[in-house]
Each structure stands twice: as structure tokens, then as C-alpha cells.
Symmetry: C2
Subunit: 489 residues, 2 copies
């Protein structure tokens, strides 16, 4: 275990970095990637390599790798493909142990590119150097302020790792991590996977104490058997949520011309991923939503679902969605209904969903949550319209900014307190509570800001009943898998 | 046709309104609904009815309906159920032709409520008065500044109508209309449908020149045969997008206790809705996204889809999603590929998706769109990563507010110009172009604001390839229906 961690140390926790292809010319990737690395606040030494410039972006440059006064851990490489094998050779001689090749134009274009890639990998492996890429977006490790990447997206440290064979999908996911407030532990755009394959990253992240959930976009495998053997071990430690792209004929064809990956048959992947405990997402939203859903929820023991809602329509939508995603909208026992009778207004209509209708008696929602989590016939809860958890005052666009800000602060504080209480109950009973709501009394970007601020506190809040049911169904399936493998949860 | 329009005139275009149950007590619905009516800027006279107060919310009140000095068109009724039949009687005697009963506690609670509802409907029908509700959220007609409703949501006038048997879903959808910038023509929360049924509203909206698309949430029908006969005529004039809630056993049970509606079997609904040309949505997002998708797009002649993308991963996701939703990711002809060869960088990989990769040569995206729309082998286009349409400069959070505002203005302007050009080509060729992208260079709520500002100009922009493909598939299916019924598009 320590092996993979120490092997990846020069990549994700480099003491200093050589930047090969560093540039002052705005618009050039050698300029942008270096700018991002500096902007991210990297605290070690950066050694720009540039044969012509003495100073690059304010830092003393070196004309050759051999001239650097120490041995950097990592080389970031942003030079044209024909020059890369030579640069790797130089890195090896210098004793550099990790390389990140961002440049494109290798195996994915064929011909000479293919040859340069082979050459580069041979030289690196002979010299015990690991390589990320080529043809990738970069890697990111916020806890180490490490941002050698093409896009200018700077997430906070978090517990979600992103592994993607597509650079733009990696960015999409990282941006979601920023917007949601959750942050990430690691982002890896794996590109052509000339040396390191995605299974190497999964293996590393499986043992990474910072990472609690892995979300990934995968088009195909260099070594399918090794991939599944690896991932099987990882999913016993933490959830792996994955989009397997290229799973239709049209998609597979698109993937071939994108990363030249061997998509394999969709059917065999479905079978293998089930056996390996992979949580499969349908699309980007589902992938990210499920990732943050796993973060702070207990894994449910079964699929018996209670629904508590502040509105009838939402309850019906949640019941439909639950049913469609394989959840059992359970019949509540007489005892549970009697307990709810004591809490809810006289006109409530006993059943599941538990519809609190428009009227919300002080504290009724929190008490109902407690009853539903204590009920032996439930495994989990969908909670809709959490405005019922507290008194939310209306806000209007024309209010002074100061007043809106105070309201935002107060609302987030109240919500976080309520969520904290729910989380405690939820973990005590080992029953996840998935919440979805809109915030009708939010103006401008206030809704987004409330969601983000809850994210920074570790609370995932969704917008629609459908999303809540879908995320919950993924948690249920993962629980079922763990139970089948381990005999218990 | 003129019939339904004149029948609904007192409801949606009232010259003056009696407000029965008007209140000064904050927190009471009689206060909130009146407040919303006033806040919305209604320009006719409002006559608050209150036996005790002389002035309600600054307006002279009347102790009885008969005392009003003219005959209002509409009565908004927010008094307890037992008093409603008497109030209706008074309205009829006064000559009022439409009533909106917001109060709950009628048929949905059974017993006396059931009786009050029957009584009220009998009195209204005898007096030639139409009734909305009871147990509803209100109605909204922004072009007439008419907002007698429970929630404080004020959309701009637009071309989408919302019909919902659930009040909270109606609000969800109306809020989306506000946030998206599209606005609405009409919102109807139909409640218990004691008198007017949803088919009456569909019939009215089918002939309403303001309404171009109808989106709706339906749990069940009072008269299924009449419903489908009506809707069949409407879908020939404009698209009707619908969530049929309660389509699973769990959902049906939830719906029964919500609106006591007869959900009917799911299978028979699917068949009937297909024959009636209804576009069925899976969830709230799908419903709204499809609604705005229909607004300004030509209906495609077939399902042969081209995909143009600024990133490989997004292209693969779009190809997968297209395939899953029944679109044909068409093989581009040699002629089309040759035309693209002249536009795109040398390293592009010929095929569909057309992957423009990271490099974007000036104007290449717009020229490629033109080629793909002119190609006889395509019916429609998915466009991903429209940042390629113009030069978008990075923005950072720490920039001065003024600079960010200018950037926002400039970006929206450029995007709107590009979208305008695409719309012209799209309509000329009768091929829809559905766009999805994230805006990586947007900070704070800028992304949301750009999407909203595009919405006010009538352009729908989505975020993910999956959404684009799904919306497009709904357009394709509707085109297929129209073709089957009309023989041509």
C-alpha cells in the first residue's frame, strides 16, 4: 500500500518542479499552464526551462534541465512531441521521478506521434520515471496547492477525486466541485495513458486518506483484466462512481477517434462493473450528484424508502422516481402512522409519501424525520422542501444588499444547523437522508450561494425529487454489493 | 374557437376583481394573495371584501359583494370552505363570471368538504360562472399583470404556458421560467378541478395566440376521453409537453391521496398520449428544458443528427446520449467531410461527432455549422462548447465589479449575435440546432446570468450533452407525429 503512495509522491506532492517549455508568450500553453501553477500558490521551487529567455513570468529560467541546482521531483512538459523523448532522457539523467506531459499530437494522431510516444515511454520506464499523459489537461491536488493544468479552475481541498480520460470532462467535473463548495482531493486528466493507466490512479486513490469517493469518466482500458482486478479492491474501501463513455455504437466510434481507446463490448463491461462494485452513472449530473451523495451519508441496509414532503406534487414525483429507480416506497406501519398523527396537522392524509401539505407546524418536520428514521420498516429517507425545517423569511430583489447578505448568512446558518441534527440521526440509525428542494425565497444567485455554502459544510442538497431518488438508488445498490461481498454492512 | 377565448376572458383578462376574504393580517393567505395581486401591478380596480375592515392593504373594502359599485369580472376567493357556496351565490347574483377558489379543504379531505365543493359547483354552473380550483395555488397572466397567487413569483410575459394539477410543481416551473429569462404566457394551478378541468385550460391555451408551447404536470383525469380528444387538436397547433405523474404503483397511490385523481393505468396512458401527440417528459428538468427547446426551433424532418463539439469527451457523451434517446448519429458524406477539411485544423479526425479539439480557428465553428446544416444527410445538429463561437476572455473573481459587468454584457452580446446567425440558418434549413455548454470563464453567478439573458432573447442554452440530446429527441418525436398525421411537416 505504501508503495503506490510513495510512487506517486513526486507527482502529487513534489518538493520542486521543472517546467519544460515555460513561456512568456500569452496564449501559449507553456505560458498558461505555468501561470496556473503559479496562481495556484505552489510553495516549492519552480524551475522554468527555456533555451532563449533568462526570466519566465518573473522566475529565473534555465536553458537546460541539467543546469537546475537541485533534483526536482516533477517535470511538467509542454513542448512539441518530437522534442519530448529527448526531454524525458534529460529528466531521467537528472533523477526526476515523475513527468506530466500535457502536449497533444502523440498516439491519438498516429504516424510519428505514435513513435514519439513509444520512445518517450521506453526512456521513462528504463529510468524509473512515471508519466501522466500525454494529451491531457493536467493534474490538480488542492491540498498541496498543485495546479499544473490547462484550465484556470481552482477548487478547494475536498474528499472527492476526479479521474477522467477526457480533459474537458475533467474540467466540467472540477468546475462542479468549485460551484458546489465540496472541492476535490485530486484531479487527474489521464490523456493517452502512455505509461500510467487509469487503474494506477484508482489504486493510488484507493489508499489515499484524503479521498473518500472517486468519480470518473472512462472511455476504455489498456488492460481490462488489470483494471477490474484493481477496482474490485478499491470499491471495498470507498465508492467508485463511473461514466463508461462509448457504451453505444455511436459513442464507441466517437471514443475511438478521441482517445483511440478500446471500448470493448458494452455488455461485458456492465457485467464486469457489477462484479467489481462500480457505481455506474448515466451522465455528468448523475456522476457528480452521486459523488457528493456518497460523501457524508451512511450506506443503507436496504431499499425501503420513506418520503417526507412539504408538497403533494413533489411527493408524487418522488414516489414515481423511487419506484423507477428500484426503491421500495414502503408501507408505513400503524405504529409509525400513529406517531406521525401526533405531530402533523389534523388534515394530513396518512401514507407514504408523508405529505406535510402547506401548513408546517413548528418543528413538525424534524420530529417527523425522527419518527421515520426510527421506524424499523425503513432503510432510508427522501426529504423534500426543507424550508419546513425553519422559518425562512421572504427576500426581494429590491432589498438593500446588506439585508440580503444577512438573510443569506442566517438562512445558511439555520439550514446547516438543521442538517447537522439530521446527519447525527441519520448516522445513528445508519439510514441516509437525501434532501431536495428549491429555495423559493432566494433572489439573484442566492440559491446557488446557499447550495455552495452548504457544500463547504459537507451537506449535499439537490433540486428535484428525481435527482434525490436516483442518488439514493445508487447508495442502495452499493450497500447491496458490500453486503453480498462482506456478508454484512 | 372564439368561444373558449371569450369564456376565459373574465378569468385571464378581468377588468376588475372582487377579492373575497381580503385580509390585513400578515401570514394569512387572504393577505398574501392580495399582496401578490397588488405587487404584480394589476391595473384594474380591486374590491376587497371584508365584513369588518374598512380598508384592506390601503384599498377601500366592502362588507358585501353586492355593495361593489360595478360588476367585477373575476372573484378571487380565499375564505373557509363552509362559506364558499354562499359567496358563489352572491357572485352569481352580482353577475360575476369567473371565480378562483384558492382555499383548500374540499373534496380532497372528503366529508363536508366534498359537499361544499358540489354545492359550490352547482351554484356556479347554474349562474354561468366558471371556477378554477379549489385547493390551488392561483393563476398568473404576466401580460395582463395578473398575479392572484400564493407564491410570490413574478415571471415576465413569455410564450410558455404552465398547467399543473400540483400547486408546488406549478411554482417550481414558474420559478424556472423566471430564472431562465423566458417568462410565461399563463400559469394555471388547477387544484381539485371541481368545475373547469385541465382539458378546458388546454383548449383555451391551444387557441391563445400568446402561447407557443404548453408544459404540464398531470396526475389524472376527470374525463379521460374528453381530455385526449381535446389535446389531440391542441398538439396539431402547438407542442404539449407533459409529466404524467402517478405512473408507477407508488406514484399512483401518492397521487390518490394528493388530488384524489383517477390515475388510470400507465400502459393505457402511454398509448393514448402517443396517439394524441403528447410529448412526455420524465421529470421537472426534462419538462422545462423541452418546453424552452420547442420555443424557437424548427421541427426536424428526421432523426439524423450531426454533433459539433469543442471537446472530445463531450462529443462521446453526446453520441452515447443521442443513441440512447433514439437519434441517429449519422455518417457524414465524403462531400461534407471534405468541406469540413477546408475549415478545420489539419489534425482533426474526420467523423461525427465533428471534434474541433482544443484549437479553434477564427470563425471555424460558424462555418462548420453551416456545412453541417447544408448537408443533405443531416436533420439536426447538437452544438457543444459554443465558447468557440467567439473570443471569450478570462474573468476572475477579484476583478472590479465594473469590469465583470462589462464582460458579462460583451459576452452576452456576442453570444446573442452568434445565436441569431445560427437561428437564421437553422430556420432556413428547417433543422434545429440544440446547444449545450458550460462557460468556464464565468465567475460567481455570471454563468446563470448569461443563460438568463440569452433566455430573454429567446435562446435556450443547456449545460450538458445529455440534456441537448434528450431535448432534441423530443423535437424529433413530435416531428414524426406531425408528419404521420399531416403527411408532411
Amino acid at each position: 500500500m505504501i508503495d503506490s503512495q510513495s510512487r506517486f509522491q513526486p507527482l502529487f506532492d513534489p518538493k520542486s518542479i521543472a517546467f519544460i517549455g515555460a513561456s512568456n508568450a500569452p496564449g501559449k500553453w507553456g505560458c498558461i499552464v505555468l501561470k496556473n501553477l503559479i496562481a495556484g500558490g505552489y510553495s516549492g521551487s519552480i524551475y522554468p526551462i527555456n533555451p532563449k529567455e533568462k526570466i519566465v513570468q518573473g522566475i529565473n529560467a534555465f536553458s537546460h534541465i541539467r543546469d537546475i541546482p537541485e533534483t526536482p521531483d516533477l517535470a511538467v512538459i509542454v513542448i512539441p512531441p518530437p522534442a519530448v523523448p529527448g526531454a524525458i532522457e534529460d529528466c531521467v539523467q537528472k533523477g526526476i521521478r515523475a513527468g506530466l506531459i500535457i502536449t497533444a499530437g502523440f498516439a491519438e494522431v498516429g504516424g510519428d506521434g505514435e513513435k514519439f510516444q513509444q520512445d518517450m515511454v521506453e526512456k521513462a520506464r528504463k529510468g524509473n520515471m512515471i508519466l501522466v499523459g500525454p494529451n491531457c489537461n493536467g493534474v490538480v491536488k488542492p491540498s498541496n496547492k498543485l495546479f499544473p493544468q490547462m484550465p484556470s479552475v481552482f477548487p478547494n481541498p475536498g474528499a472527492i477525486a476526479v479521474v477522467s480520460q477526457s480533459g474537458n470532462v475533467a474540467t466540467s467535473l472540477t468546475r462542479r466541485a468549485v460551484k458546489s463548495g465540496f472541492g476535490i482531493s485530486t484531479m487527474i486528466s489521464s490523456g493517452n495513458e502512455a505509461d500510467l493507466h487509469c487503474e494506477d490512479y484508482f489504486s493510488y486513490l484507493g489508499d489515499d486518506p484524503e479521498t473518500k469517493v472517486i468519480i470518473s469518466y472512462i472511455e476504455g482500458f489498456r488492460d481490462g483484466r488489470r483494471f477490474f482486478d484493481t477496482i474490485k479492491k478499491v470499491t471495498l474501501k470507498k465508492p467508485v462512481v463511473m461514466i463508461k463513455a462509448g457504451s453505444t455504437d455511436a459513442g464507441a466510434q466517437a471514443a475511438r477517434s478521441h482517445t483511440a481507446s478500446l471500448a470493448g463490448s458494452s455488455g461485458s463491461f456492465i457485467g464486469a462493473s457489477k462484479q467489481a462494485g462500480i457505481t455506474r452513472a448515466d451522465n455528468l449530473e448523475d456522476l457528480f450528484n452521486t459523488g457528493i451523495g456518497f460523501l457524508n451519508q451512511p450506506i443503507p441496509r436496504g431499499n425501503r424508502t420513506a418520503i417526507l414532503t412539504m408538497g403533494g406534487g413533489w411527493g408524487v414525483l418522488a414516489a414515481d422516481a423511487s419506484s423507477r429507480y428500484g426503491l421500495d416506497v414502503v408501507r408505513l406501519s400503524d405504529k409509525t402512522l400513529a406517531a406521525l398523527d401526533k405531530i402533523l396537522p389534523a388534515w394530513w392524509n396518512p401514507g407514504n409519501p408523508v405529505d406535510m401539505v402547506a401548513g408546517n407546524i413548528e418543528g413538525a418536520m424534524m420530529k417527523s424525520i425522527q419518527v421515520l428514521l426510527e421506524a424499523p420498516e425503513t432503510d432510508c429517507l427522501i426529504l423534500l422542501g426543507i424550508m419546513g425545517l425553519f422559518k425562512m423569511r421572504p427576500v426581494f430583489d429590491h432589498m438593500p444588499e446588506e439585508k440580503i447578505k444577512n438573510h443569506l448568512k442566517e438562512t445558511t446558518h439555520q439550514l446547516a444547523e438543521a442538517f447537522d441534527e439530521i446527519r447525527k440521526m441519520s448516522h445513528y440509525h445508519k439510514k441516509p437522508v437525501i434532501s431536495a428542494t428549491e429555495l423559493p425565497f432566494a433572489v439573484g444567485d442566492m440559491e446557488e450561494r446557499i447550495f455552495t455554502m452548504l457544500g463547504t459544510k459537507g451537506f449535499a442538497l439537490y433540486k428535484t425529487p428525481d435527482t434525490a431518488a436516483k442518488v439514493l438508488s445508487h447508495l442502495v445498490d452499493y450497500g447491496k454489493y458490500l453486503k453480498a461481498v462482506n456478508g454484512e454492512l
